[in-house]
Amino acid sequence: MSTTSTAAEGDLEGRIRDYLAGKLGAGSSLALRDVQRIAVGWSHETWLFDATWTDGAGTHTEGYCLRRDPGNALLRELSDLGVQYKVLLGLAGTDVPAPRAYFFEDDPAILGAPFLVMEKVPGVCPSPWGRQGRQFYAEAAARGVLPLSFTDALIALHTCDWRSAGLDFLGVPGAGNDFCRREVATWKSLIEQAEFDVDPILTDTIGWLEANAPATDARPWALVHGAYRTGNVLVHNDRVSAILDWETPVIGDPLYDVAYVLSELNREGTELLSNLVDRDTFISRYEAGTGIEIDLSVCDYYHVLYAMRSAAFWMSASGLFSTGRNPDLRLARTAWSVPVVLNQAARRLGY
């Protein structure tokens, strides 16, 4: 996992220490070690560190992950750390592998922006887009354990009782095609906020999605992650130790996640889903584990939706740069990714 120097965050580190000391009742004994700012990812800023403190019960060491909302990150319009905190709290009593959430603060006076503190779960999260990441997942695929764990984590997610977990605050879709129409509307709004000329192929794609939204209420609604793939799960000892990046969770059709796993968007140069899982193995294990039959025609609809989402994502990213809200050149480069995902949408629409 790539990290950046934390020298520039020295003051922030002191403020994190003071905050945690207060929350943990640790006073001046609390020290932070191995503070790392994670450089991958374009959404919320993320720090990992260990905290050690002494109290009447002895000396304690705990690992923490802190995510801060810089206010200019990707998907800022759709993602809220307060929502992530509530989702993680809800998942604590379920079989879904996810970090435990500890604290959420909305007050920017504390660390300069809202932030979330959660458990530092052991594991690594190689990016599937790089050479090393692809090699990591190829080797894991050959050993055979991680592909099953990756599938099982999705099964745990889609079979968890989200109502009992208190996650219905995310909004429960209505009957018929309401779930699909909601998702299209959500991502369409992101496109409208991007302040870009909209490509006619994207307009065609949105028009097609709105006109062809399938009814998806025959299956029970599930907690849907919204971006379930390698790179968004933490891996420890060949198993998924935590599902990460809870930026776009919704209550809805579980096949929405399944389609993302099946998608060509998430594999490069391999037939393995998400660079990891054999398609037939995934489908049979998922269906057996959830009792949900995978309707590939619905997944085809979601593939078009994901192409539209990708275009919205890249437009939003390059918009952050072009409007001066975020100086990261990686964002500027994404303007040239839009035609690439529009090509996928066009092919799906038959042209």
Binding site: D204, N343, A346
Partner: protein, 143 residues
Amino acid sequence: MLSEDELLGRMAQILRRDIGPSVEDGFAKTQAFMAGVILEKLSGQLRHAAVHDRDDRADAARLGTELGGALGPDDGEALRAAVATVARAVEDPDVAVGPALNELVRQLYAERDRLGGERFTALLQRTRRTLRARLDRQLEYSA
């Protein structure tokens, strides 16, 4: 003297080959490489810009002419106006092809019910041929 696209291409090469590898800080190194990638894309876009613009306009004008012939006074005014704008893409340099095509697609969907399924599909399919060709040109430097 180097052309603009050659200059950008040369700068991209230097950023990726010489400057990027010598930067120690991880974030700055990534930014240097990314600057190289962006200049490379820009170089390609600039190199193709004149030919692509000419072809985009010619394709759009053909589309506008064909669709104009398929529409009548009973069809929506906004749709007919969008088609007329696209048809002027060659003669009028002020017509921005992308937004004009986008408005055409938007109006096609808005008029879908009035056009009826068969006509809508035929007009959209013809429009998609133009969009496909335009996208293929963009992919020459984007992909």
